[in-house]
Symmetry: C2
């Protein structure tokens, strides 16, 4: 008797769950393909050096490390050296950067990449957070223009529309606007990462909470006062009014954002509501420009987000490469669909043929010929042995969406 | 600058390769679904105890082991205990057995399971053999009748037919027939695993090679002589003639095989050639009955195989559960399609819109509206920034299957 439960924090998916996941994957791949994104595949296992290159933020603390093998392991043990040589990827961005560095000579320019695959994080398991989960990323590498942002946002809105979601909003901001604003208030540039982390808590701790934390952190009180004044009641801030406080540079950023907002909302199949949110920060410090996040009405969490990261790809390939990416929250989308009682559209009627034991050859042949005929009409036909407790067997099959049943016996075929 | 190459023995897939893989996956899933198989998903990471439970054969030597983390790792290091607590799965059979043990109360009976996912083996990398590769397994759990074999073989032949393969043959045998034959010749039962491994080499070393190896291994010469006589010129052995040498028990096995062969060949959509092969062995010792393998004309290797393993599932769940499975060689199928110059059927025309820098809003809006309109007609439209070297950019896009191009400028739209 071995261990029946999956490893901690990881999931087995029952047939109905797996079918929903597969359906969502196919919609995502199809929709992004139509917008010109190319599917790529990278290995789950990545060099430990690449995973610990400081592009993973806190995720670098959560790596599942893989041990060296054979002689290399023996040597490492003997010499007291590092026992691991690789690890499971914690995101799809590091593998993408490596992939692009290796293969860019064979890829279109700019490269519209799509990845959908598992990632692993040794996080504390909790509701809705798993140690193995599927990520779905689209990235445009090599395009410095706002076309990248518009294409990413509109395609992603198209996916959500096609999955039947309504009432989602893309919130958008720009890292440069965050920086200009903080600079303008006289806050210290070397502390921006910390300051933005505090600002990012606004929707949880409120403006007063942000003020207290900034003061507690010891920032110059008059600067904090100015900063808080800027962000007070900024929920419905007008983009240009907000940005103009940062002068010409701010206005230039605002012009870019405005274009992206207008074009993306018309470009999205099925439409898309986009809102400027000056408090949007996004966690990763590698963002350099536009940042965005999608929230769905009725859900506190975001179902996707991303932004421009013009510096990171160059770390791998040695050539500065503008980049912008969007990560869609696959698990959250599946969860929201599941919560809403969504049923995967079925392909034709599902019929089960239940065969008695030791059927003569001619009955066997007829049964399988019947199955082929029904399948040729577009139906699904499962052929399997009949169990003693047939009504129990049929109940289980009904739970899997089977609606028609036939029992093949020695001398008769019975519809049920 | 970080490491650009993938980890040893693992692959990056370029867009055209990834598209082919995705296409084959979809055909497999669709075809098996229509035959009533339910997709399931299990984690890539498995308890180390389950991976080393002696069901993995030689694969257990090839495990990528994952290190414990945090305090547990520190404790293990201090006490000199095992540093790993889990590993990457080397097949889909162990996870299936665990999954079934955990979830059988929620599953149909019998359970027609389909898994398609990555597995990892720290093998010596060589042409066509990778350290991460995709497996595709179907299994029927809880059905002791020949219906399981017929359904597995015919569905798999259906997949190959739909992918356009012709000229493949299913070779079939039965472990019981192998055992009865060896017993009848007077070979020692406790040595059967070794004897079958030697017999399995027949197509490589010939009948004389098998004779020498058996004699070298020290088996009783008259028994070896009888054994060799049985397998000499058995390429076209008649099933019943061959089996009758093992008496009534042999004939009973032959009757089962005969039924399976006849029914599976009519049951397979597009037909299927099935041949009795008394020398077929299959590597894993957990097989208990029917075994089968698919070979394609022109390829020396098998593209799939499986058999009945009625004892293994019980090791996990404590309840004896008849089982039969088929593993389709995903990587080999993709390789064979790729060798044959197979092109993934495209969805509509692929058009690229190349946008000049700093387009005014009205042009941007029109461009994206045009893209939506073309997509609504079923086409693919990539919208991206125009590069300085436009003709080079277009050449790259052509290589990705794009056939139409438009340049959106400030004042004009140009078709190319």
């Amino acid at each position: 008797m071995l261990i029946k439960t999956p490893t901690k924090g990881m999931n087995d998916y029952l047939p109905s769950e797996a079918a929903l996941r597969q359906y969502v994957k196919n919609v995502i791949i199809d929709e992004y393909s139509r917008a010109g994104f190319s599917l790529i595949e990278t290995p789950a296992v990545e060099h430990i050096e690449n995973l610990t290159g400081k592009n993973g933020g806190d995720n670098e603390k959560l790596i599942f490390k893989i041990m060296k093998r054979g002689e290399e392991l023996a040597r490492a043990e003997e010499k007291g050296e590092e026992l691991c040589d690789s690890g499971l990827r914690y995101d799809l961005t590091v593998p993408l950067a490596r992939y692009f560095a290796k293969n860019s000579a064979k890829l279109p320019q700019p490269f519209l990449a799509m990845q959908i695959g598992n990632v692993w994080r040794a996080d504390r398991p909790q509701k809705g957070r798993f140690r193995q989960f599927t990520q779905c990323d689209i990235d445009i590498l090599g395009d410095a223009s706002e076309i990248a942002e518009i294409t990413l946002i509109s395609s992603t809105a198209g996916v959500l529309n096609r999955l039947g979601f309504s009432g989602f909003t893309v919130r958008i901001n720009d890292r440069r606007l965050l920086r200009l604003t903080a600079l303008g208030c006289g806050l210290p540039e070397e502390e921006f990462d910390n300051i933005f982390i505090i600002l990012d808590k606004m929707d949880k701790i409120g403006i007063e909470g942000v003020r207290s934390e900034l003061l507690e952190a010891g920032y110059y009180a008059p600067a904090v006062k100015r900063y808080i004044a800027v962000y007070t009641g900024c929920d419905d801030a007008d983009l240009f009014e907000f940005a103009s406080a940062s002068g010409d540079e701010g206005i230039k950023v605002a012009e870019g954002l405005s274009k992206i907002m207008k074009a993306a909302s018309v470009a999205a199949a099925g439409g898309c509501s986009i809102k400027f949110d000056p408090t949007l920060v996004r966690g990763m410090s590698y963002y350099t420009g536009t940042i965005f996040e999608i929230k769905m009405d009725g859900y506190g969490y975001s179902v996707g987000g991303g932004g421009r990261y013009d510096e990171m790809i160059g770390l791998f390939c040695g050539v500065r490469t503008p980049a912008c990416g969007f990560s869609l929250g696959f698990e959250r989308i599946v969860g929201a669909l599941s919560d809403s009682g969504f049923v995967v559209p079925s392909q034709g009627e599902k019929t089960a043929f239940l065969a008695d034991r030791d059927l003569p050859e001619d009955v066997l042949m007829k049964m399988y010929a019947d199955a082929s005929a029904l399948r040729a009409e577009g139906g699904t036909v499962a052929v399997c042995g009949r169990m003693k407790n047939t009504s129990f067997q049929i109940d289980r099959l009904k739970a899997e969406g089977f609606t028609a049943f036939r029992i093949y016996g020695r001398d008769s075929v019975k519809e049920i």
